[in-house]
C-alpha cells in the first residue's frame, strides 16, 4: 500500500512538475482555461462578477440591490478626496499617469527602483507621504474610498498586469503563487482548496467563487462591512475563516498575493467598485 502511494505521489509529482516551472503566462493560460472548461456556459468577462457568475439566485438578489448601489455616497466622497489638494498644493492626480484617470487595470505593478510590488493603495499612500501628508490606514476608510473612485474611472479597461524581465519581479510573482496554493491556519485551507478545487460547490449555503475575476471588482462595498474594503481586507476575512492570523495591510505576502491573483485575471475588465453581501 505504502509503495503504491509512493508511486502515485511520484507520478503526480511528474505531472505537476510541469506547471510548477511554467512561465507566468503559461500559468495564467491554464488557470483561466481551468475555469472556462469547468463553466463552459459562462462568458469569460462574466467571471469579473465573482460568485454572481456562478450562482443565479444570488445574482438575482444582487442585481435587485444594485439598482440602488449602497456605495454611492462613499464613492462621491472618494471623488471629493481625490480632488482635494494636499497642503503643499499638489494632489493625487500629480502622482499618477493620465492624472490617475483609468489606471486601475495597471495595478499592482512592479517597481524596479524599490524592487517591490506596488498596489494601487500603496501608490495612493506613497503619493500622500511624498507630498508631506500622513499615510492613511489600509484596508478601509478614506483610502478605500479614493481607490474606489479611481477604479470607477477605469471601468471596462482590461487588466494588464506586467511581470517585467527582472528576477525580483518573478520572485514576487512566485511568492504570491505559493501563498495562494499553500494551506494555512488551524483549519488548513489553501485559497485553491475552495476557489479552485471546489469552485461552484457550496459551503453551507454560500457558493464558492472562482478566483478568475476575484480582484477585478475591488474595492468592494460589503453589506456585512457597511463600507468599502480593499482586496487585502477581503484576504483578512478569508484568513480569519481558516483561523490564520491576518497580515498587516500591504504586508509583502499580501502584495505578492495580489500581484499573482491579479495577473491571473489579466484580460478581464475592471468593474469595481462593486457591492457584495
Amino acid at each position: 500500500m505504502q509503495r503504491l502511494l509512493n508511486t502515485f505521489l511520484s507520478l503526480s509529482l511528474i505531472v505537476v512538475a510541469i506547471p510548477a516551472v511554467a512561465t507566468p503566462e503559461q500559468n495564467k493560460e491554464s488557470f483561466q482555461k481551468f475555469y472556462m472548461d469547468r463553466f463552459s456556459h459562462i462568458e469569460k468577462d462574466d467571471f469579473a462578477n465573482g460568485v454572481y457568475a456562478l450562482d443565479q439566485d444570488a445574482r438575482d438578489q444582487w442585481e435587485a440591490m444594485s439598482d440602488f448601489p449602497p456605495f454611492e455616497d462613499d464613492l462621491d466622497e472618494g471623488e471629493a478626496l481625490f480632488n482635494t489638494p494636499f497642503a503643499n498644493g499638489k494632489q493625487y492626480a500629480d502622482c499618477f499617469e493620465n492624472k490617475g484617470q483609468g489606471v486601475r487595470q495597471n495595478y499592482p505593478q512592479f517597481d524596479s527602483k524599490s524592487g517591490q510590488v506596488i498596489t494601487l493603495e500603496l501608490a495612493i499612500n506613497n503619493c500622500r507621504t511624498q507630498h508631506g501628508e500622513k499615510a492613511l490606514p489600509y484596508k478601509k476608510g478614506d483610502l478605500a474610498k479614493v481607490s474606489a473612485y479611481m477604479a470607477s474611472t477605469s471601468k471596462g479597461e482590461r487588466f494588464d498586469i506586467k511581470i517585467p524581465n527582472d528576477k525580483r519581479a518573478q520572485q514576487a510573482y512566485e511568492a504570491g503563487k505559493k501563498y495562494y496554493y499553500s494551506k494555512r491556519g488551524q483549519l488548513n485551507f489553501s485559497c485553491a482548496n475552495c476557489h479552485v478545487q471546489n469552485v461552484g460547490r457550496k459551503a453551507r449555503s454560500e457558493t464558492l467563487s472562482a478566483s478568475l475575476g476575484h480582484p477585478t471588482h475591488f474595492p468592494v462595498y460589503r453589506m456585512k462591512w457597511e463600507s468599502f474594503g480593499t482586496l487585502q481586507r477581503r484576504f483578512d476575512s478569508c484568513n480569519k475563516q481558516v483561523r490564520a492570523q491576518p497580515l498587516e495591510g500591504q504586508a509583502k505576502d499580501y502584495r505578492n498575493l495580489e500581484y499573482f491573483l491579479t495577473y491571473m485575471s489579466n484580460g478581464l475588465p475592471v468593474n469595481g467598485p462593486a457591492s457584495r453581501k
Partner: protein
C-alpha cells in the same frame, strides 16, 4: 478489540478530566459537536441527518457503518485527512487540535447512528 477500545476510552477520558480544567460540567452530544460551527461544523461541507442547508463539498454522511466498518479508519480520516491526500480540503480535526479526542469519539459515535 472492543475491550481494548473501551479501556482506551476510559483511560483517555480519565486523562482528559484531570488534564483539562475547562471541561464543561454538561458535555455536548456528538451531534451538537458535529453541528457546532466552531467545532465540527460538518454541515459546511456534508449533508447529514436533519441538518439545515448543508454544503456539498464532501459526500453526504449516510450509511456510515457500511462505508466505514473499521472505526479506526473513520477516525483516521477525521483526525487527519491530509495523510491520505495532502491537498484534501478537510481540516485535520485531531492533528490540529480543532477537536479533542473525547469530542472526536463522540462525533464518531454519532456518525455511526447515521
Amino acid at each position: 478489540m472492543l475491550k481494548k477500545t473501551n479501556t482506551l476510552k476510559l483511560l483517555l477520558s480519565l486523562t482528559l478530566t484531570t488534564a483539562s480544567l475547562a471541561t464543561p460540567l454538561f458535555a455536548a452530544t456528538g451531534k451538537e459537536i458535529a453541528f457546532d460551527r466552531k467545532k465540527g461544523n460538518c454541515l459546511a461541507c456534508h449533508a447529514m441527518d436533519d441538518g439545515d442547508m448543508p454544503g456539498n463539498i464532501g459526500p453526504p454522511l449516510v450509511a456510515m457503518t457500511a462505508r466505514f466498518p473499521d472505526r479506526a479508519i473513520l477516525k483516521a480520516q477525521i483526525f487527519d485527512a491530509t495523510k491520505r491526500n495532502p491537498i484534501s480540503i478537510m481540516p485535520p480535526f485531531g492533528k490540529h487540535e480543532i477537536l479533542n479526542d473525547a469530542e472526536l469519539e463522540k462525533i464518531i459515535d454519532y456518525l455511526y447512528t447515521l
